[in-house]
Amino acid sequence: MKEIQLPDSPAREVIALEQLGALWDVLDDGVLLFHQYQGLVYFNAQAQSILGISTKNLLHPIAENQEWAVFQVDGSPFPWEKNPLRISYQTGASQRGIRMGVHCPNGSYVWLVVSTQRVLIQDQQYVLSIFHRDTEHMAVSLHEQYANQFFSKSFVHNTTIGIAFVGIDGKWLEVNQALQKMLGYGREELLALTFQDITHEEDLLEGIDLLTRMLDNQLMTYQLEKRYVHKDGSTLWALVSVTLIRNNNQTPRFFISRIIDITEHKRMLEMLESQNQALQQNRQLLQKQIQQLLDFNQIVAHNLRGPASSIQQICYLLELDLPRQQHDQLTQQIPALASQLLQTLDDVQKTITIPKVPSHEVEPCDLKHVLAKVKEKLSHSLAENQAIVQEFLRVRMIPFPADYLEMILLTLLGNALEFRSESPPRIRIRTSRQGNYVALSIIDNGIGIDLKRYGHQLFKYQKRFHAHSSGSGKGLFYVKNQVEAFGGYVKIKSELGKGTRVSVYFQTP
């Protein structure tokens, strides 16, 4: 039977270990008893529950026991020479209220407040350790315990991904080298700042909102693209992933942030987007040009081949040795066919030579001046038909070459005069701004066009829709071609017997 002699007890009574054990088991504190050589020789029920130790942990010499890794308050390993067990054992001085973290044999961490005392039991020196949980400290320094281990690993620094522990208040608690390099700050400089200090102000609210939602338990983790301000003042884009670490009683302790520099990625994406946009614009222009080419093809197939094949037809028939009258009838047609051929060739050339000046380089022209010129040219016809022309020009400057605008107005006003109804022509000219366009409308009270019937052919070359018209059927074809060549478009509304509205939309730069 072992006996314990309590050193400070005045009576220096000898008490049986079993008796003490029974007493210690009812204490709220954990009790451990170490022997100089034998190591841990006794623990009470509390110690067992706090540290998760079992009888197999008995009888290991204190110094050799690797499992008993202990930490200081700042998370660094507890130096052996400061260990209260050692001090009490070697000097006999009792140690009180020492805070230390313990890495228990079962793998968990606990923070303890420890007191030690050397005792003499049957002439053998023992150290008695009495401790309780340090709940306050456990909460505060959890991150340090992680950080110390985590940031000591080389892989944490040998990466391009920024890694940081961030306090609930936004303070940088620990940062890896990649993040220091990314943001241009040294470690000490960063640890003196909060993440708010170096977040781009436009991204601050969103970041704080996400963190708040995470603290409120609405989010487990989040990812965010945000901007930081580099130490040199430049802006960098980062993809930030944040996880919140809570302690055992679910109190939020700190954030772990993973920060990837995506500035270059962002820049390339923006470049790609703008290129895409340019491509899209080119594509639309190309589509219009393809349509124009198809129209030209149509002109070649019909309007050019027509007279040419007629001439060939005449040549074939002339070989048949016809009577005089038929012979003459055929040869008389040749001059007209030849000039028809030439006219079409000229028209095609005129249409093709529309200059491809980008619409933003077009010098706007004053519609008032152009209209005056057009009315002058049409003055005879206007007077003859007692036509009234009314102008409602909310926009005067038209982003279109003056000479082309003049041709367009000549065509459209000419059409309005030609396709007049019984009553005197009343022509209204309106302009207004419509988004990216200036709209110019010519509204007449003429005979109108049956759009259901002719709508698909309106803008085709040499298509006429009125039986007794003198028109060439080319006017609207040119108007459409010219307007579209500068990025605009043409719309027509018409009702038989009521009138026609032609609206030309000029693209503004």
Partner: protein
């Protein structure tokens, strides 16, 4: 007698057919229309007995395609069962494809029109008549 309706705004084509039919010696009667709309009206109301239609494509007011669309939608005209030939100087592939896909169209004849083409048209009908 084979009745051929010619629908074309081109005077020369009518003259060509006059010459060719006379030369061929075939028993052919030509019906001349310079306007598809007029042709549609006459062929619907007067009910002349027509075997063959020579139809131009590119005409003002109503073109060949529109004319065909009217024939397709009118039960009366459809049942006339005309042999319809498109006659055009067009080499536009889209026109040819469209003609090929139209069940009313027997063939696409490219102008200029020669005697061989004419006799081909006539014989296709006389086969049918006998």
């Amino acid at each position: 007698m084979i009745n051929i309706a010619v629908i074309d705004d081109d005077q020369l084509f009518h003259l060509t057919l006059d010459i060719l039919s006379k030369r061929s010696g075939e028993p052919v009667k030509l019906h001349h229309y310079f306007d598809a709309q007029q042709a549609l009206q006459d062929l619907t109301s007067q009910d002349p007995f027509i075997d063959v239609l020579l139809l131009d494509l590119n005409m003002p007011l109503m073109d060949g395609w529109q004319f065909l669309a009217h024939v397709q939608t009118s039960a009366f005209l459809y049942e006339q069962n005309w042999q319809i030939y498109i006659c055009s100087s067009s080499l536009d592939a889209r026109d040819h494809k469209r003609a090929q896909e139209n069940p009313l169209v027997k063939d696409f004849l490219v102008k200029p029109f020669k005697m061989a083409t004419f006799t081909q048209v006539v014989s296709s009908v006389s086969h049918r008549l006998h």
